[in-house]
Symmetry: D2
Subunit: 279 residues, 4 copies
């Protein structure tokens, strides 16, 4: 069910986070500790912002643990903002185009989870993608479809709002009639400056999500990368916002409809992480 | 722009047609003679009917010319009906799911050509796929979408009619407003018993298509596999029907609308191949 | 550290043994129960005897669990003698040429284990390959080198003897000076008629090996494929010989030098499996 | 028979040389103009010097023309010294380990050509690799074997001399008895500072080699990357030395034995390229 890591901070080589830690993402590809699928061997991906205006991508279908290229690239690529992802395929093919992260213009997205019964909902989720972004659909995953739907829902202007609107639509779909299908949406999103990490679920428990700050740097990951202290959990149904300014906020994230019901309940609980650092 | 071969006849090992001839499909993958793209190195596929109720498939993304597995399989697999295809990708990804042939239930399809401007038409062609067959869409090619649309248009009961109906819809799409986008549809279709080979184009010249009979066997191919005699061309806008009974007919194939205009013109020209063998 | 299965008996489709059982080889590729490496995701291979004079091979670098081709082939390929292997690479590259089984002429071999410290011994093990068989070295594994050394040591005339001679040489190498390096050699060998399955170790415990007979059929596997009865263990330092005649014998297997010491000890313990069936 | 490009100069993104030119290396992978093999689709590789002490490598078995990762990496990777290579396999497998460039410590090497009859000579060329460097043999190509033999022949202290010594040995092998087997050795070698490009052949014509200087930059390539002026040919049996100092010299390169015969002949012909720039 995938494992991922997102980094925002001073420009760093990827290896420090992706390949070197005791329980690095590569180690997690072979044996993760907190995932439903212990083995995440159905491809992987790197995404980053660098010297070219558009983000870079390296996606491969072989398991991350045996990819020599990945080791070389993690030593030589560096960025102030990068994503890395190892995949455990749910029901779509093992192709590069189905590996995360996904890129659309300046935006990059990766996901750990699933969207109800994909065979039942696929067509309707794809219909949520606006014509403008449909040519960007290169693969067949639910994750990419949701990302492109978010793009069309106004992601560029209002990332959290667009994500909330799409999740709200999805919640309607999985809850229609007598269906109570699960949605798990533990995902990362960035424009190269701000980092958004969502931990949300509907009709199910949410996939794990942790973060750690060190100096200027922020690391968000499916599982802690080592046994050292400093890892904190992002609460279920919250979004961590690591702004370009350096502030880190953790605020409730609920689809719009549910939110109206829970607004007061949640508003009192806004968590501010990295005290003395958040705004 | 792809090259392919289809065989129907006595049970034979594939090698006799796929790997051994002077200008075999493997040789064509490295250098075809009659295709727009000389190199067909973007993956390949084998499809066949054998001991299992469902057809078999072997599809790979690497070039056919360097695949050791292909050579072994062509020596050991045998069938009374098999397809082989080498791909030159037009605008979709090089994945196994985008390699031909495509299978849906008992039916198998492969294609050489393209459908207008895929970015413009993709959504509308995909909408031609009925809900019943949408879960069978594993890749992202125009070819697979057209095949699944054909499935929903009644392929099982009326293969040629269903194909004609879908082509008719496509012709409307590529000819709407001021568009005069090209369609090239040189394809093979089978249910394991009957073999249908279409050579059709709209707003463009049709891709090449040849056939040869020998004893009970029928070989249909994008290009002759050798310099020996016996290769005949399938005329543009015709379909070759190699029935399970052994008969081989070549009849006009035009989308229904156009057909009404040209009915008389074409009806006089029905070509009957394999004289003495056709009905 | 690899898992494998070998079948000899009536001609059968591979699926019955490779993909369908509860704890099939495919299931073992994702999670084996008795191996040092739980995940065997570094490629796989099928080898079989069929309609062509030379054995067939299908080897792939991706994990067996996600290979659609494998599923199709296991449904459509059938043989009276086939091998299947999932790999957990020890220290050599994940390439098709390093995947098992290996074929040389009429002989086929696959292995689960390792040969001492490969970097130290590689050159000397490779020098054990005779010039005649050196061009057959397509990969870089210890397993292939040992197999080709066995070929040169007279495998065709005396399979068990040739294997014993090569193991004897290897034991000298790993025991020279102060080295006491481990050798694990749990392997299968066939000429298409007779099946030999070795379970041997030096300076280490031997990797697991089981067999089951049913009617005419013999299945030898690293781990039982299901929880049903009938699975028996091949004892350490023994070789199971499933002859073309149908007889199944399990006899001690010790390198020649050690054997001289243990000859009397072992000769009394010859195990005859499948009582009433063995000679 | 492979095409390659080597760059030394100001730090630049690879795309300017690898993917963007009219007749870029990617274009050459699909259709080269001056090579025996027109299609170079048997894998490719990038090698470069960057932020990590050891050089970086990206090697893939699929054709360069369809690799999305390559396009992204060429936009985001930059270096003062990089190699890029597209392969047309001669007789060894299409694996990443057989793709060029090869790296050993600080040194990087790539090759276009072949070494006599590889099956006949393989064992003897491999025996030229010293024990120190034998563990670095990851693949099975003649090119990698020659490179590692060069490493053992003193490459670090005397790159051109070591190369000459190894070529001299090879010439003896291909000329022994009545053999007059061809050697083609058009190759690039670097330690990250100095660039050496050899164009040599024995019993055959040499593969093409060109270079162009622009400002501080030096590009050496199998074929000109565009139709602009400035491309000059490296003469047969010469080595171009692009030193870290910026000087560019083209001097005769002949194996030591032959050299003694031709010393006077060649010494008068030392070509100094980039007049006013060479030392």
């Amino acid at each position: 069910m995938c494992r991922w890591i997102a980094y925002r901070g001073e420009t760093r080589a990827f290896e420090q986070y992706v390949t070197e830690p005791v329980h690095s993402l590569i180690a997690q590809s072979l044996r993760s500790l907190e995932a439903t699928a212990r083995t995440n061997g159905d491809g992987f991906g790197l995404g980053w912002y660098g010297i070219h205006p558009e983000p870079g991508l390296y996606r491969e279908t072989r398991p991350a643990w045996s990819d020599e290229n990945l080791r070389y690239l993690c030593r030589h690529l560096e960025s102030h903002m990068f994503f890395a992802h190892v995949r455990a395929a749910t029901c779509t093919a093992v192709t590069r185009q189905n590996c995360h992260p996904f890129v659309c213009g300046q935006w990059m997205f990766m996901h750990n989870g699933f969207i109800g019964s994909w065979n039942r909902l696929r067509r309707r989720v794809e219909s949520m993608i606006s014509d403008e972004f449909y040519p960007s659909r290169l693969g067949t995953t639910d994750s990419e479809a949701v990302f492109l739907a978010m793009m069309g829902a106004g992601l560029v202007e209002d990332p959290v709002g667009a994500t909330r609107r799409v999740m709200s639509e999805l919640c309607k779909l999985v809850n229609e009639e007598d269906y109570r299908e699960p949605v798990r949406f533990t995902s990362a999103l960035t424009n190269g400056h701000d980092l958004f990490a969502f931990r949300f679920a509907e009709n199910d428990s949410a996939n794990s999500l942790y973060y750690r700050t060190a100096g200027d740097g922020l690391v968000v990951a499916s599982e802690p990368l080592d046994r050292e202290s400093g890892w904190e959990e992002v609460p279920t149904n919250h979004v961590l916002i690591g702004a370009a300014s350096g502030s880190i906020d953790i605020v409730p994230f609920l689809p719009s409809e549910l939110r109206q019901l829970g607004e007061e309940r949640w508003s009192a609980q806004t968590v501010v992480a990295g005290a003395g650092k958040g705004k």
